[in-house]
């Protein structure tokens, strides 16, 4: 009898706690409403509206249905494929230069005994600089006649390129800017991983007689795989969305001669300067598919688990 009464009491207590939890659980959803509405209005709705627009010829207010014509127009447009080429060219070189460079810098900083924080701040500074402001400064740094880069090149007897005024060098101007801006981020991420590698592994390797370089190749690099995969994927997504710096340096049509027009700039040019919202929306979806495909490939290549 006594046992039954205790059991009943416990059961009632449990029920009470459960119902209390249920009530409080519901209440917290109310606090999520503002951000949920924000996501719904400013992300979900534009995504579907853009998909709808991609089937219309639209100047913003007047529109008519044209089926897949916008997609056909974009996919057969030389300017679009030129923009895809530019985006990939700049992106690939930014990644294959910045990740190894950032890793090397991070390894050097990690092995220094003094001033680690100073170097971390120093290298991270470009990353916290507005890319728009940085692009404007780079236009001066790479000025064909008054720029410091050409001044140095001239001083050491090397040819001075036209940089942003020459289609054959303008993409490299953007790559230099992109590397400079991103390398600090790569260093910080690599450093975080480097500092998480257990010191016992290095000690064991030292006992086995491994040299510093061997430790770097056989302990450090394999332990960095996850970080490299993360940097590769986030770098790719960022590279494929590139817009701000090329807009500042070359305008919406990627001057000179569309040599630095990226997919983002192509979308901007057609949507916001030409009022061709249907074309811009179709190009946006094509860009989305490209990013999706390449992110999938990157995941497979890097064997990253998500």
């Amino acid at each position: 009898m006594a046992n039954n009464s205790i059991e009943l009491n416990v059961r009632m207590e449990v029920e009470k706690v459960r119902s209390k939890r249920k009530d409080w659980g519901l209440k917290w959803y109310v606090f999520l409403i503002p951000s949920f509405l924000g996501i719904l209005l400013f992300m979900v709705y534009p995504i579907f509206e853009s998909l709808r627009l991609s089937f219309y010829q639209s100047n913003g207010t007047v529109e008519h249905y044209i089926g897949l014509a916008n997609f056909k127009s974009v996919l057969t447009s030389n300017s679009f494929w030129n923009a895809v080429w530019n985006t990939f060219f700049i992106g690939i070189f930014q990644i294959i230069i910045t990740i190894p460079l950032g890793f090397i810098f991070a390894s050097i900083i990690n092995s220094t005994k003094r001033g680690q924080n100073f170097f971390k701040v120093l290298y991270f500074l470009p990353n916290v600089t507005s890319i728009v402001a940085a692009a404007m400064i780079f236009a001066f740094v790479l000025h064909p006649e008054m720029g410091i880069v050409n001044y140095v090149l001239h001083a050491i007897g090397l040819p001075t390129p036209g940089w942003l005024s020459d289609p054959s060098t303008s993409k490299w101007a953007v790559i230099i800017l992109a590397v400079w801006h991103w390398v600090g981020f790569v260093i910080i991420i690599c450093l975080a991983n480097l500092q998480a590698i257990p010191s016992e592994m290095y000690e064991a390797a030292k006992i086995d007689g491994a040299s510093g370089l061997q430790q770097w190749f056989f302990i450090t690099i394999p332990n960095m795989a996850g970080t490299f995969a993360f940097l590769l994927i986030t770098g790719w997504i960022g590279a494929l969305q590139r817009f701000n710096e090329v807009y500042v340096l070359g305008g919406p049509n990627g001057s000179p001669a569309r040599s630095i027009q990226t997919m983002g700039a192509f979308i901007y040019e057609r949507g916001f300067t030409g009022f061709e919202f249907g074309i811009a929306s179709a190009a946006t979806y094509i860009m989305f598919i490209l990013i999706l495909v390449f992110t999938f490939i990157n995941l497979k290549v890097s064997k990253m688990k998500i």
């Binding site: 009530d23 519901l26 209440k27 109310v30 606090f31 409403i33 503002p34 509405l37 010829q57 100047n59 913003g60 207010t61 007047v62 014509a69 127009s73 030389n78 236009a139 000025h143 064909p144 006649e145 008054m146 036209g162 940089w163 942003l164 005024s165 020459d166 289609p167 303008s170 340096l249 070359g250 305008g251 919406p252 049509n253 001057s255 000179p256 001669a257 569309r258 040019e269 057609r270 916001f272 300067t273 030409g274 009022f275 061709e276």
Partner: protein, 451 residues
Amino acid sequence: MKHVRKGISLSLILILAVMAMLTGCSSSDTSGKADGKWAGKKIKVQMIGDFKDKTATDPITGKKVKGIDVLKEEFEKQHPGATVDFILMPWEGYTEKTQAMITSNEADVYQMPGLADFAPQGVLEPLQPYIDKDKEMDLDKFIDSQVDGWKVLGKDDDKLQIYGLPFLGDARFIAYDKKLFDDWGVDYLSDHPTMKEVAEKAKQMTGKNPKTGKQNYGIWFRGDWSSAFTLIDLAEGQNGKWGEGFAWKDVKFNFNSPEMKKGLDWLLDMKNYAPKGLVSNQGQEKWLTKDNNVAIMMNQGPGDTIKPTYAQGLEDRIGIAQEFKNKDGKGGLFAGSPLAIAKSSKNKDLAWEWIKFATDEFAQKYVFEEVGAIPAIKAAETWKSTKEMPLMQPVFEAMSSPWTPRYPWGSSQPRFTLTSEVEAALTGKRTAQQALDKAQRESTAWVKNRK
């Protein structure tokens, strides 16, 4: 009891959330003051450029300039009971901002350089009926060509109509540095120079300056953003033209005409007498400084020239010549800012009153003397303030003789296609003929899809 309390607190949270949402989404009040002829009427006016809310210091001249509250005060005094509010925005991204504003019925009056793109959307009020019934509005008060330049096609129009009236003026001209001409012993440009004259003088002034020993360049033109317009003006100077038509269905391009080819060849030749970076808008950094090294600047506008010239004390050094004109005296890009009334405006009569006010002498003087923008009315030519700036006289002349109506493709894909091809020619990627043929082909294909 506990359940009741929880219920109350939950309801309170919900009410607060709904109130916050409703506050955020509520439409603005359209009623103004209670007394006077315009009692209860209120308009919102969108303005683009260097307008300031309140009195502030001009960063170029260092002088105190009056804020736009001066206009508000005067307008509300002239229209008892009315209220005018302003939405000020910078030039940066004005097209997309205007599109967003007009889609959400944000203002009654818009300053709208992209009139030709917005009128076909059916979002603007035609102004001819207001002009016809209002004896106070005399279109002759505007500088010649300014009203014609802004005529566009509305959604259902088959001929050009007035949807906007000139508010800020603009023009394109050739500016030059008299000091460099003097140093080289070259005669100043004539008021209406030919391509040959400009080329000859540019060639003479390229090299080491005989007086200072510094490198000088004969000419500079923007090889990227506005290069299409520079080229079109060169064709107009030879009695050629960009093409014909205004509605997309009627537009026929003439981008690879012999005049265009000769114009592009001229630019390619002039590139040899210009600084290296003209295709990336570089090389002219010393222009309007005492160390200037470029003699002739093509396709310049008053906004970047007049105020900085006087602010730098270079008024005796800078000269202005007209761009290339055809046999009728017309040529060069038509530009500026007109005012238009939104179709969705609830107070269109008051909006029209604002347009009249903004295009009259009080507001136009404010625009010139305080903001440093260019007025669009003839009366400005006789103001003391413009006479104190003799450089304004050739600007007024340039404003009266551009190519009108405004190029219908001026902010559409053909403009970017032609610009990119001019750049391709200037950077040696294609010959002049190949570049123009490509621009013609792609622009024609584009316009065919718009029909």
